[in-house]
Symmetry: C2
Subunit: 78 residues, 2 copies
């Protein structure tokens, strides 16, 4: 069974690069990847924040946040 | 053809978790993943540093560093 992996980003250069290198490159037999653009769907910022996401790009896997490099603070997207 | 992806870590809890979630979960048809424990092979710290790695756990893909969360500074491993 595959685990849900949510990739949160905001369209920034660092985000787009992380999306290519990680979000699009995870083993699909292990992960069910959802890509969420928080600039376009700001109503999902709260769920990211609740999982511990401080900045984008970041993954939430199994309820835990994984920040990859730094693109923008979540607080700057509000 | 697969791209080389080097995962540098130091055996810390954050590292081990990132190894499981990312290093072991990347699509092997896209990436040729090498896992490097810098605590056990300190002679490879210099190559990580040269690629821009500041802390572990981190990947170097296509010569660029991708830091995932924060486990330890590279400077603390020397």
């Amino acid at each position: 069974m595959s685990t849900k992996a949510t990739f949160y980003h905001a369209g920034c250069t660092v985000c787009v690069d992380a999306e290519k290198q990680f979000a699009e490159s995870l083993d699909r037999s292990k992960y069910n990847v959802e890509i969420v653009h928080l600039g376009e769907t700001p109503n999902r910022i709260a769920e990211a924040e609740k999982a511990g996401v401080k900045s984008v790009p970041a993954f939430v896997i199994g309820g835990l946040p994984y920040h990859i490099n730094f693109g923008a603070n979540l607080s700057d997207l509000k």
